[in-house]
């Protein structure tokens, strides 16, 4: 679907502007589409540490029954499913669970490259409320790559059982993205999560993602220098800093992307907001 098509589609089906963004309007308007994922308006990536209930969140939204287990590494291949919310259709891509995005394992590469080159409209990061500190490491890494993200602090039921409470407002303020507390097994908080995804995808909520600044001076300076260079080369790139981070790491995939100009397409698609359902790099 091209941008032009999308415009006609919206023209045919006008949305009552004020209503569509109101939670009361959208609540209960989730339609699970299973594997029907044609003509989607937005692509949502689902990232997170292993064993945070990512697959459960995926199943709750798509109505699919991907096997979930209390066991890290259950999602072996990338799973895709669809759902409709409000008047929009979403494609949800479940990425392999990873602890980090900065090392070389195959799973991490799939997740990292999809968030950058797959250009999802929103990246939902599922985190374990009982192990939030460790999970935040991944969240911060994702926020280096993309500025359109929602944090889903899952397993709140377990957190309560362990007498752990999470302050959603402080988190949202610190991270600069919407934060939703959920217990996906009980479907608790799923409406709020869908609403937040909808808001970020449609641009109603503009994220101001946290960027890591506790860095030694030489690293920070090198990073700034390369970031400035990258920005000069690709003026519209929203995540020049991430490109710089990866170049300093010597990431071969990123070096190739800079050389071939592939990053330029990332830019153009992001700025026009064209949906990208078909061509997906894994």
């Amino acid at each position: 679907m091209t941008t032009a098509d999308k415009k006609t589609a919206t023209a045919i089906q006008p949305t009552p502007e004020a209503c569509a963004t109101c939670p009361a309007f959208n609540a209960g308007h989730l339609t699970r589409l299973g594997i029907t994922i044609t003509d989607v308006d937005y692509v949502i990536a689902l990232a997170g540490n292993p064993n945070t209930g990512k697959s459960t969140v995926f199943n709750a939204m798509t109505g699919l029954r991907q096997h979930t287990g209390n066991w890290p590494g259950k999602t072996v291949t990338r799973a895709e499913g669809g759902f409709a919310y409000g008047d929009k259709k979403f494609k949800l891509v479940d990425l392999p669970g990873t602890y980090s995005l900065l090392s070389m394992s195959a799973d991490e590469e799939v997740a990292r490259d999809f968030i950058l080159f797959g250009r999802p409209d929103v990246t939902v990061i599922v985190a374990d409320a009982t192990r939030l500190e460790r999970n935040l490491n991944l969240v911060l890494q994702v926020l280096e790559i993309t500025d359109r993200a929602v944090l889903c602090v899952n397993l709140m039921d377990e957190a309560r059982r362990h007498n752990i409470s999470v302050d959603q407002r402080i988190l949202a303020k610190e991270l600069g993205i919407p934060v939703v507390l959920t217990a996906a097994r009980q479907r608790e908080g799923m409406d709020a999560l869908l609403q937040s995804i909808f808001e970020v995808a449609s641009g109603t909520f503009v994220c101001r993602p946290h960027r890591v600044h506790t860095l030694p001076r030489d690293v920070a300076e090198a990073l700034d220098a390369v970031t400035a260079r990258v920005r000069k080369l690709f003026p519209d790139l929203p995540n020049a800093r991430w490109v710089a981070l990866r170049l300093l790491e010597g990431d071969q995939r990123m070096i190739e992307a800079v050389q071939s100009g592939e990053l330029r397409t990332v830019v153009s698609n992001h700025t026009t907001g064209a949906p990208i359902a078909e061509e997906v790099t894994a």
Partner: protein
């Protein structure tokens, strides 16, 4: 300094120069920066009330099930209960299915075919061959899987299985394998094809291959009945009557344990030869215990595992049923193809302490270990002149009403205690069933690994049987 035009090459050159300047510390300081920020944010956003420290159920359970002394016994006990429930719980539905599929529908189909004027060879080929093999596999294979897989999945959902992997990891690491291989191996006790699929939980490719190739050393539930039957007839008979039960049960356990030991030995061998490479790093996370969702578990384990494996088995069993019927009924020069092969392979079989019937049965019953014993009985009757009239006819697999009848058929077929013991060993050490071989091929995407997984146990089986037979004959004088 003249201003340089920014091109991809200049950017990369600068990044590269800076990368060399920063050196290895770069990655670490980046990670440290991220960790510091994460810690600061988490510290502000998360509060723990004191109650959690007083009693933590998870930690208490973990202290028991992963303890140095109690961990192993608890594990053995729990898994024994799972097996016991599987074997006992599967008997009733298994008998029920057999009475419907084999004793009611099969004669009914034969009558129907006769009524429609089917020639004898056609109804034999279709009903005695194809239908019977398919029905046999369903009635013997479905119930244990329908019991075992849900229990296994419940343990997984609850969070116990990662603890098993944790307990076993040290042992498996010495064998160059992954702790999670203990789980795929345990899964293999249910069904090797399912065990091979389960190896997906192992994230490092090399260890996953090792787990896939060695899964066949887990005695699957298609082979347990053979072990129990043959141990009862031949091994139990070696002991005084009051000890027969204990001795034969012990023999089955010895074979199963031998399988586990050999899987470790082969893992060790593989990791040092064909799959040589650096041990890959991995982390083993102990997730929190969670109350399992029972209905959901039943659904996924039934659909994803049980029916999936069963369907594959049926797809392979029906054609094999045709073959079984054909070899027993197509005659060349007065005797059937089966007898030709048995006569030809018998000397080799006897050298291994087996016989031609067993070798042929393992070739034509390759789709499922479940139909090996019925095939052996049918072939034994076919080739033994003193047994005319026993069983259900050429090419029709059958099972005797009691172990005593089975024993007399096998004794008439010339079986000795050596044949029995070697059959038990060969049942453990032979090629995986075709369902498993196909699954290995699908999972690894490689003919090479599927072939290796087929040849290794078969070669070991021949070697072990030959060694035992030679030793036996030397001792027996």
């Amino acid at each position: 300094m003249t201003p340089v035009r920014t091109t991809p090459d200049t950017v990369l050159a600068e990044a590269n120069a800076l990368r060399w300047k920063l050196g290895e510390d770069y990655h670490d300081s980046l990670m440290e920066g991220i960790y510091a920020d994460a810690a600061r944010i988490a510290d502000r956003a998360v509060t723990r009330s004191g109650d959690a420290q007083r009693f933590d159920l998870d930690r208490t359970i973990d202290r028991i099930v992963t303890s140095r002394w109690l961990g192993f016994p608890v594990m053995v006990l729990l898994l024994s209960v799972v097996f016991w429930v599987t074997i006992v719980g599967a008997n009733i539905p298994s008998a029920f299915l057999a009475s419907i599929l084999l004793d009611t529908i099969h004669p009914w189909l034969k009558q129907g075919a006769a009524g429609l004027g089917f020639p004898g060879w056609l109804s034999g080929f279709l009903i005695d061959g194809g239908y019977l093999a398919g029905a046999w596999v369903v009635s013997v294979m479905l119930p244990p899987m329908a019991v075992f897989f849900p229990i296994f999945t419940l343990l997984e959902d609850f969070g116990y299985l990662p603890r098993v992997a944790f307990n076993m990891d040290a042992l498996y690491r010495h064998a160059g394998a992954h702790g999670k291989q203990s789980l795929t191996m345990t899964m293999g006790f249910g069904c090797n094809a399912a065990g091979v699929v389960a190896a997906r939980v192992i994230d490092s490719p090399r260890e996953r291959l090792i787990a896939i190739i060695t899964n066949n050393f887990s005695l699957c539930n298609g082979r347990w009945p053979t072990q129990i039957l043959v141990a009862g007839i031949f091994v139990g008979a070696l002991a005084p009557p009051y000890l027969a039960g204990v001795v034969s049960a012990g023999a089955v356990v010895v074979v199963a344990v031998l399988g586990v030991v050999l899987s470790l030995v082969v893992s060790w061998g593989l990791s040092r030869t064909v799959l040589k490479g650096e041990a890959s790093a991995f982390s083993l996370e102990l997730p929190p215990y969670r109350p399992p969702r029972i209905l959901r578990t039943l659904y996924t384990s039934l659909i994803d595992r049980t029916l999936y494996v069963l369907w594959r088995a049926i797809v392979f069993a029906v054609p094999a049923g045709f073959v079984i019927w054909v070899v027993a009924n197509v005659h060349i020069g007065g005797i059937s193809v089966a007898e030709h092969f048995i006569n030809w392979s018998n000397p080799f079989g006897l050298l291994l302490g087996l016989n031609g019937v067993i070798l042929l049965a393992y070739i034509i019953a390759i789709p499922a270990n479940e139909i090996v014993v019925p095939t052996v009985l049918m072939l034994t009757v076919l080739t033994t002149s003193t047994l005319t009239g026993v069983g259900a006819g050429a090419g029709v697999m059958f099972e005797a009403d009691s172990a005593t009848t089975t024993a007399s058929i096998l004794h008439a077929g010339g079986w000795t205690a050596l044949t029995g013991i070697n059959l038990m060993l060969f049942s453990l050490l032979h090629n995986p069933c075709s369902t498993t071989i196909y699954t290995i091929y699908k999972e690894t995407g490689s003919v090479k690994w599927a072939a290796l997984a087929t040849v290794i146990p078969l070669a070991m089986g021949f070697a072990v049987c030959f060694a035992v037979a030679t030793l036996w004959r030397a001792l027996a004088g």
